[in-house]
């Protein structure tokens, strides 16, 4: 597999997994339907991410999953050159972005910045989300399909 493949990084990295308590499940199933869902407190309207059982502002347990437009602003970034696993050694370097969502209380998501990994990255630049679908692994029944949210210049 090369960079020309349909996913930014090869399927050699750990896959997002359920903790068995269902907390993150609406987020991941939303991405599979190409919908970005962020938690919001029904009581005080505070945006909450990463997912949590309780609102940190008012301590209500009544949180709603709200659809949010997948656009944002680059808050920070890094370009990774050293592979943590030999399985991605041919895919270096790659870009990671920390993306702030002004339309959702400036919560932050982590994703890859698509395109030339050598490009200059500008903090504050506007980006839009791209849903990146990873199919289930044919040779591994335990590896189910999942979707990542990647980012490209708006």
């Amino acid at each position: 597999m090369t960079k020309a493949a349909t996913t930014y990084l090869p399927d050699a990295l750990p896959v997002p997994a359920s903790d068995g308590d269902g907390l993150q499940a609406p987020f991941w199933s939303g991405l599979e339907r190409e919908e970005l869902l962020i938690q919001r407190c029904r009581h005080c309207r505070t945006w909450v991410f990463a997912p949590e059982w309780i609102c940190h502002q008012c301590h209500s347990f009544d949180l709603d999953w709200t659809a949010v437009e997948p656009t944002g602003v680059i808050y920070s970034w890094t370009r990774v050159w050293h592979p943590v696993t030999p399985a991605i050694a041919e895919h270096m370097p790659y870009l990671v972005g920390v993306i702030e969502l002004p339309q959702a209380g400036n919560v932050r998501l982590i994703g890859n910045l698509l395109g030339d990994p050598a490009k200059a990255v500008e903090i504050g630049a506007r980006v839009r989300g791209v849903f990146e679908h990873h199919p289930a692994a044919a040779d591994n029944p335990a590896r189910k399909a999942f979707t990542l949210l990647q980012w490209t210049p708006a």
């Binding site: 990295l13 750990p14 896959v15 997002p16 993150q24 991410f49 890094t78 943590v84 991605i88 903090i123």
Partner: protein, 392 residues
């Protein structure tokens, strides 16, 4: 009002270490390295190891106090404590817990230690997992797994906000290597680093070059803590514990990088508490051991402890200013995590005590106030200040 906290109530009376090795090169398992460090610390303190009655550690150390207690034939075990958190952020917190236990009468002679052999369990690599839940679910599939990958974006944003240049990070790396050249126990002894080599070194994750990253090491380090009263009878130069703090700020570790103080070492809320307890100001500090998981963490730690502002970092962070021989702020004087060894910062605590006890390979003249910052960016973080008799 009674005197707050633990200021001057306890002291480090002995320090010890095992030989330090590159990751995977120790001929001995971690347990043996740890026992050697503890026995060396007892010898330095002049106490019988059987007098130890407590253990404190951090970072999920795997050297079980009950096994050590049996192996060393301790008469009685009265106190065990492990600080939460997987990185080195718990080092000074373990000191604080031990000091509080001794001051509170829970135990009399507590060892604070950390021992690891990374051949058996590596910290710098990827977790050997196919699936990751919790906060890793939001990072791992995007290639954010190792500590360098997790912390790089904090430093990029801090440098962006304050105009800090790469040369400031380089000065921190060069300082550790320079100090290691006078320390025969340092892994990088006899292997000096110059600016050109740093500049030409490969990136790990921007803004971290290879030399901005800590080593991966096998080794162990330990200190012995007892009451100030006993310390005076046992050793000529106790390193008194003047203060210690641990913790994190408001929602510091909110998942998926949502902490409001993301671009930070997370010491902002701790530093004032530490100085207040210790009764000193940044100007009083003679020497600092500031944990380098990555040089960028040191940059932010020193700013958040008030040694200079972020805007002054480019001017302040030079090899001359950080050198033990006459620098404004002697830093990481045994070579630190970058050039001595990476014992999750326990080696830095040993060196901080050596500076007060006059045992450092790069002894700062008349060092009386000696600071440690543990595990920047890896909340909960911690810090402590040691002082000579004259500071009490």
């Amino acid at each position: 009002m009674t005197e707050p906290g633990i200021r001057g109530k306890t002291a480090i009376i002995g320090v010890g270490q095992s030989p330090y090795y590159k990751r995977g090169k120790s001929p001995d398992p971690a347990f043996v390295l740890t026992l050697r460090a503890i026995l060396n610390a007892c010898a330095d303190a002049g106490i019988d190891p059987r007098a130890i009655d407590g253990f404190a550690s951090f970072s999920m150390d795997r050297n079980d106090p009950l096994r050590m207690s049996a192996a060393l034939g301790l008469r009685e075990l009265r106190f065990n404590s492990m600080v939460w958190g997987g990185g080195g952020g718990g080092g000074s917190a373990a000191i604080a817990g031990a000091a509080a236990a001794v001051h509170g009468g829970l135990a009399e002679t507590v060892v604070v230690f950390r021992g690891l052999a990374q051949g058996a369990m590596r910290f710098g690599g990827a977790p050997p997992a196919q699936y990751l839940g919790g906060n890793f679910a939001f990072m791992a599939a995007y290639g954010v797994i190792s500590p360098a990958q997790q912390y790089a974006a904090k430093v990029i944003r801090f440098m962006h906000d304050h105009g800090v240049r790469q040369a400031a990070l380089r000065a921190i790396a060069l300082t550790s290597y320079a100090h290691a050249q006078n320390n025969p126990n340092a892994v990088m002894y006899g292997r000096p680093l110059d600016a050109e080599t740093y500049d030409a070194s490969r990136w790990i994750a921007e803004p971290f070059h290879l030399y901005d990253c800590c080593l991966e090491s096998d080794g162990a380090a330990a200190v012995i803590i007892t009451s100030a009263e006993r310390a005076r009878h046992l050793t000529e130069r106790p390193a008194y514990i003047l203060g210690a703090a641990q913790g994190a700020g408001y929602r510091t570790d909110a998942g998926s990088f949502n902490g409001p103080d993301f671009a930070s070492s997370h010491f902002a809320s701790l530093a004032p508490r530490l100085y207040a307890m210790a009764g000193v100001t940044p100007k009083d500090v003679d020497v600092v051991q500031s944990y380098e998981n990555f040089t960028g963490g040191v940059l932010m730690s020193l700013v958040e402890h008030g040694f200079f502002t972020a805007e002054e970092a480019n001017d302040f962070l030079t090899p001359d200013n950080l050198n033990a021989m006459g620098g404004k702020l002697p830093l990481n004087t045994s070579g630190g995590n970058i050039a001595e060894a990476y014992i999750h910062g326990m080696s830095l605590i040993v060196e901080a005590a050596r500076q007060i006890r006059g045992q450092s390979p790069n002894q700062v003249r008349d060092a009386k106030v000696s600071m440690v910052t543990s595990g920047p960016m890896a909340a909960p973080v911690s810090n402590c200040i040691l002082g000579a008799e004259e500071t009490l």
